[in-house]
Subunit: 351 residues, 2 copies
Amino acid sequence: MDGQTGLNVAVVGATGAVGQQMIETLVKRDFPIKKLVLLSSARSAGKVVTVNGKEHVVQEAKPESFEGIDIALFSAGGSVSKELAPEAAKRGAIVIDNTSAFRMDQEVPLVVPEVNEEDVHTHKGIIANPNCSTIQMVVALEPVRKKFGLKKIIVSTYQAVSGAGAAAIEELKEETRAILAGEAYEPKVLPVKGADRHYQIAFNAIPQIDKFEDNGFTFEELKMINETKKIMHDQSLQVAATCVRLPVETGHSESVYFEIESEGVTANDIKELLKDAPGVVLQDDPANQVYPMPADCVGKQDVFVGRIRRDLDNEKGFHMWVVSDNLLKGAAWNSVQIAESLVRLGVVGQK
Amino acid sequence: MDGQTGLNVAVVGATGAVGQQMIETLVKRDFPIKKLVLLSSARSAGKVVTVNGKEHVVQEAKPESFEGIDIALFSAGGSVSKELAPEAAKRGAIVIDNTSAFRMDQEVPLVVPEVNEEDVHTHKGIIANPNCSTIQMVVALEPVRKKFGLKKIIVSTYQAVSGAGAAAIEELKEETRAILAGEAYEPKVLPVKGADRHYQIAFNAIPQIDKFEDNGFTFEELKMINETKKIMHDQSLQVAATCVRLPVETGHSESVYFEIESEGVTANDIKELLKDAPGVVLQDDPANQVYPMPADCVGKQDVFVGRIRRDLDNEKGFHMWVVSDNLLKGAAWNSVQIAESLVRLGVVGQK
């Protein structure tokens, strides 16, 4: 890193949970970096982060920080992205934004490389990284959509607390410890930081992620619904979601029901298809109790799929169970993958 | 209890988690008991259980134990029920069986009093208590079925470990403690006692409850599918289920999608209906973050329903979130309710 050739890369939110994973993933993938610039809020500026044996001082992110930057990975919250992503783009950087700030903006491609890599060509300076729970679902469903057509999705999620940030992880651990010791604990973070009410997550399940819309759905559920249609370029696709937070540190799981267009497709056909699908690892052997679980997916980049079976009433309906590390494929890895797509497709040129 | 008038009641499996709840519920409901007989396996026989201030020595359950018994509540495992329930019935007792041994037997009514109380009249000595996850779902859906017709159900469950017995509760606690302390822990109980493989439940989600069938569904899922049709007397009802075990001690949650027959029904219509439905408590006020959660339902007899909203694509489709104490409405309370129905409908007469 910081090599003679390569790209100038900025990471905004470098000290956060996802930012750290982004840096680690860039290193692990040996991404061609000429200069690495680590940025954060004023509060975290000055911290020293060691990358590949070299110390980097984290600087406060300002519009000028993006002069000469080729790719800027943003993961510092929606308000930071709204303010600084256009500034970075104005200065010639391509922003890969991990917040929800621009995802539904018609000018901004929303990209999961296994699904719609070519959409990076349409960027106008900003590319959005989808919501974590959306990404793993579309990776698992895109091969099905392409081969058999996709009509309807009904998903119920089982989401880890790390999606709500480092404070939520701390809350889960401290609260669990307190409950086991018979001590009181006052929740302050979950389900939504800054909301009026906070609830126990330890040994519980909270059917709220993000705030509620007037139609009774949460923003998280609407993200899954709207982002899926945008990524798959199909506004007629029917999508419904129920999003639930669990006492799991990392790894989102999803119970996915889907209906296809083709007739006569068997569960084995779906399994055969997903066995060789990009980014997917099939773990589906009920006889030997093989299926994906969040505890097994942590630190892995893949989307794990199992429990594939045909509905007993609808021969075009299928059920499956999809698990992935929400901080990697759900965030950092998908962002770095988009950066790799930009290089491979020649959208950014190495200097 | 042990009053001058009333019924002779036996509890089989009196020392187990559900058996204890059955006894407590009988006391709490002031059920008219003349004589209470506590029975168990040979292993637990001789234990002393105090009921309403009076000590009862638990006896080994044998065919002769049921002489003179009016109602026998069974919760000691399927093999005990298979062996002894017919013996009890032969001796004139009405068995209320909490195992899966007789649920799908055509001669045996499967009863949730809020739904099909009248079915107790058809008993031939044995009445079955449905699976815990089935009960709470049908209590929430029966008012909808009666008023608007019910066509299809797709449910994903979030089930507590207490459904797998006291050893599973112990495993969840010990394993959680070990993981927080950074110690190793070897799972021995979950997902299925006696299965080849056991998996970590702490900070995890296991998409297996009970064993697998050849069609890829688990027995637990098939129980929900088949029992729902039988209880609602509708074999044409489409039901699909995905059952998942969570690190929750008590309280099952369910993400339920359902399609009705009637047109023009709104989410508010469903809420109005469930507000006054028997056995249901509506907790549905998203603006104030009011929805059911397992941590809040423990020790309560009701079925809690919230997050009711209409599907965005199908105007006859709705989503809701259903939570109940799996040991109470899911087991002990429903069994005692059946006993109360037997009395109220005059199927058994007090002596």
